[in-house]
Symmetry: D2
Subunit: 149 residues, 4 copies
């Protein structure tokens, strides 16, 4: 059972006046983790999905819990899961762990909708993408019988 | 009944490769709206809260629905509500409307926790802030009897 | 003699680990000021330039002096000047003043090149735009005889 | 002769309405490259410099030439050089190359000033830092006799 994780660093400019990562930039971390997930786990770069397949996955719903603040110098790993796959939507789960710790910095999920990128028209998830996502669900022990609703 | 709204513009650099506002930057809009809400509705600048009262309101939970994409050139108004006030937490609601329309771009809420900004130690919301927030709840028809749980 | 100025505020998330505005975000302020300059001084929204005239003005050269750090709570005014107009290029000057003070936070200029936005192909500046820019140069006392080279 | 380079990727949210990297975010790339330069070439993490040595290096002057636009999917390498070292200032040079090409995306330099981070008071560059920087200048063939003025 393998769950994809990517390592990221808090950058100097990610910090806000309170001395912790500005929360909108935390959602940027989720997006970066998703981009890495496509390259390293699904075997297709997200730029290829967007620029050659003309498919986008805009977020329509987002929930995040900020468990422990990230500070400058923190290194963390974002785990990416595929929680469920609908006709046109994909629900991704993200958990950020402080490096070499079980301590969670944040966890969340977003629901994305598959669209044709020029027109923003909703699309049935193409089979090639569905197959990659389902194969990852199986590898990561997140298949349809165990997935959160 | 008055609900605070602030007008914002989508900026050139807010757009992403899909030609819509990059979703992490949408959460920045919420924060900017909260800053304006403090100045214009509560009568105290958020910088004063942070720098002179040494109080911060980091977000611990966030939910957002992205109803209709914002694009370059869009002007929109963010409505800020105070959904509930706990001992140490404040739940803010945000709805972004396209200018001069009832059409919603996005809506969401976040739960923030009142902390002493240097130590990040949780604080009971000071009375002066609680009173301002409650007075706004009454002005905006969002008092304790009607507030969402 | 009128020089365009727009008022901006340092936002909570603009700050970096050193407690001052992260310098890349200062360049964002210049871009926002340019967008406001188009709307309020040239009489055409920059989104209209981009989306309807299909013209872009990417920056090819940038110089900035950071005179005094901007901090959270600072309000400042960015003055926009049109330093020179070539066949295909426009050189804009920016000076940011602390509000109600002569004190300069930063000053800089950038050279932008007029391009067809889809192809990024260089374009002769269209007459309608050149005329607007030249009229502003005259209004602001920055005509061709006084402009910096 | 070794010059430090770090590999970066253009991210989905780095793009602007013109379909190229928003130029303020290019300066963020320079900062990230400087952070990596400290860790990998100088042998001290920049967070350690800031948080334990209480030293900051705010930028006081910046010049950048944007030679070729970066687009989504581009991978590039930023070369970091130490152009000169004064009593209190360090001038860094940056060149970004498209991956596996000699083609330059952008080049620039910034002058930073060494400050005590709490007070923003100018500091003589501490010897331990000067020695690391000078050693790198020698390794990279950028010693005082060849450095640009």
């Amino acid at each position: 059972m393998t769950t994809f994780r990517t390592k990221l660093k808090v950058r100097f400019g990610d910090i806000d006046q309170a001395g912790i990562v500005y929360y909108p930039r935390i959602l940027h971390y989720f997006h970066v983790a998703m981009e890495e997930f496509f390259s390293h786990e699904l075997g297709i770069d997200y730029p290829t999905v967007v620029l050659q397949h003309h498919i986008g996955l805009p977020t329509v719903h987002l929930e995040t819990d900020f468990r422990n603040p990230l500070r400058y110098g923190d290194v963390f790993e974002v785990e990416v899961r595929v929680l469920s796959i609908g006709q046109t939507s994909i629900k991704f789960g993200y958990t950020a762990y402080f490096e070499n710790q079980d301590k969670v910095a944040l966890e969340g999920h977003n629901v994305t909708v598959c669209v044709e990128i020029q027109t923003a028209r909703k699309l049935k998830i193409p089979n090639w993408l569905r197959e990659k996502l389902e194969a990852y669900q199986q590898r990561s022990g997140m298949d349809s019988s165990t997935a959160a609703p």
